[in-house]
């Protein structure tokens, strides 16, 4: 890519965020409102608030819980999804229940989960799992159902064993849908990470932001919200990187099909 192209891409990616920050900066520059402090003040406290100690004490525990919950949801969602997607009988049997659970907003489960799982890390991970699993599971079911019959017949004719069928046919064939579910689950996971820490916690991003709010440390609270947004961008970026590698074949296939049609 030539330098002009890189400059263009950078402008495309950073243009709007920079403009929004500029608007925020200018609009609040003379603000005397207690709840909307100048952006200058917010950014001024950002480094002191987060980079000295809290990164390890609060941000890292939050991220570990998010990662644990997300990975558990991924493994559970894909395994159950493959099982349900492979068996029409099982699907007919469990589908209404799955739809029921999916329709329940996970935050309302937090008080109940506290009863069962206490207020430790286990509860917070469980909250994240309980929200992340549904998009992954339901998308996996659809993905497995959607695998081409001819491809399945091919696998049978060449006598692929159960392990090879799972690895080379089912999981890869469903991977575009699994990725779509995993992407939805990631943003749900970030939300639930914060919410689970707002109820009962002694550390974590959500906990700290609530503490700032309750102690009227408003610029610090805002800086926490900005940090959350930045973490979201970073995780989405990492996700895209992994996805673009794993699904390169899918992009190519789609593009070649569009070329034909």
């Amino acid at each position: 890519m030539n330098p002009l192209g890189i400059a263009r891409r950078l402008l495309m990616v950073l243009g709007l965020p920079v403009a929004l920050f500029a608007v925020w900066w200018v609009a609040t520059i003379n603000s005397t409102s207690f709840f909307f402090p100048p952006l200058r003040d917010i950014l001024g406290v950002f480094g002191d608030t987060w980079l000295s100690g809290r990164l390890l004490a609060d941000v890292v525990p939050s991220l570990i819980r998010l990662l644990a919950g997300y990975l558990i949801a991924l493994v559970l969602g894909v395994s159950v999804g493959v099982a349900v997607g492979s068996s029409p009988t099982l699907r007919a049997f469990v589908e209404p229940v799955l739809e029921f659970f999916r329709a329940i907003p996970p935050p309302v489960l937090v008080p109940i989960l506290i009863l069962f799982a206490g207020i430790g890390n286990g509860m917070k991970v469980l909250v994240i799992v309980s929200g992340c699993i549904w998009p992954i599971l339901l998308n996996t079911v659809e993905g497995v159902r959607g695998i081409d019959d001819v491809l399945r017949d091919t696998g049978r004719c060449y006598r692929l064993g159960p392990a090879a069928r799972l690895r080379h046919l089912v999981l890869r064939g469903a991977s575009p849908q699994i990725a779509a579910g995993a992407r939805q689950a990631l943003s749900i996971g970030i939300i639930l990470m914060v919410i689970s820490e707002m109820f009962a916690a002694s550390n974590g991003l959500g906990f700290t932001i609530i503490q700032f709010q309750r102690s009227f440390a408003i610029p610090q609270m805002w800086s926490g919200i900005i940090l959350l947004g930045l973490i979201g961008i970073l995780l989405a970026f990492v996700f895209r990187l992994v996805e673009s590698r794993a699904l390169a074949w899918y992009r190519g296939l789609r593009m070649s099909q569009r070329g034909d049609g």
Partner: protein
Amino acid sequence: MTTDPILDVRGVRKIYEGQKRNVEAIRDLTFSLGSNELACIVGPSGAGKTTLLKCIAGLLAVTEGEIVLEGQQITEPPRGMAVVFQEYGRSLFPWMTVRQNVELPLKEKKLPKAERKRLVDEALSAVGLADVTGAHPWQLSGGMQQRVAIARAVAYQPHMLLMDEPFAAVDAQTRAELEDLVRNLWERLGVTVLFVTHDIDEAVYLGQRVIVLSMAPTVVLADVAVDLPAERDQLHTRSLPRFAELRAQVYELVQRAKHGQRPEQEGAGRTASVAPSAPEV
């Protein structure tokens, strides 16, 4: 021509059981293929060709009768049989490269690595694809994708090769090349080939025998021996007078099949005069 039959289709009947009514796709099919035979099956659309092929491939259970491959009754996809499907685009794994596609069944056969490499290389160069092994199927043209599917079948070292209208979706030029490729591989590998097609020219050009099916519920309408020279090429074989005669004969049979003719409705003598019936076992 027929020595010991490698494939024996005996009194096969297939009924699809629906919720409201049952559909009889195949009524009574009996024929057998000798070792290293190349037979074509033709029939009008709706003759149950694909159903028959799926039964032989072990993908569908027959309702009555039995299909025996090398002495073993087929109840699931057998060892020693490879299938090339019509829908090449849907039969290759799009997330694998050409090489990986050809190699996967060999890995499942637990062949050692060096052996796999040799078979894959040989198969890919036999179909003229030695230089695109790292490409993904969707980067190739339709004809090349079907070549990959053929290479996968060849590398699998089957005794019996089933082909379900494999060239129905490629252009005429490519089709002629692929037909010659099939003849060539068949002669070199000593494999038995059952080639299903709706194209009468293709059936006569390729086969040593053309089995004509009736409309569903399917029976064998005729079994025509193709007495063309073994050495065939697109230009000369197709302009032989005998080719034209056979083509006309099969064409007429397929037309009659289309109009619902069945052997038992006709005078037995007439069908028999058109073609000697299949060797019964």
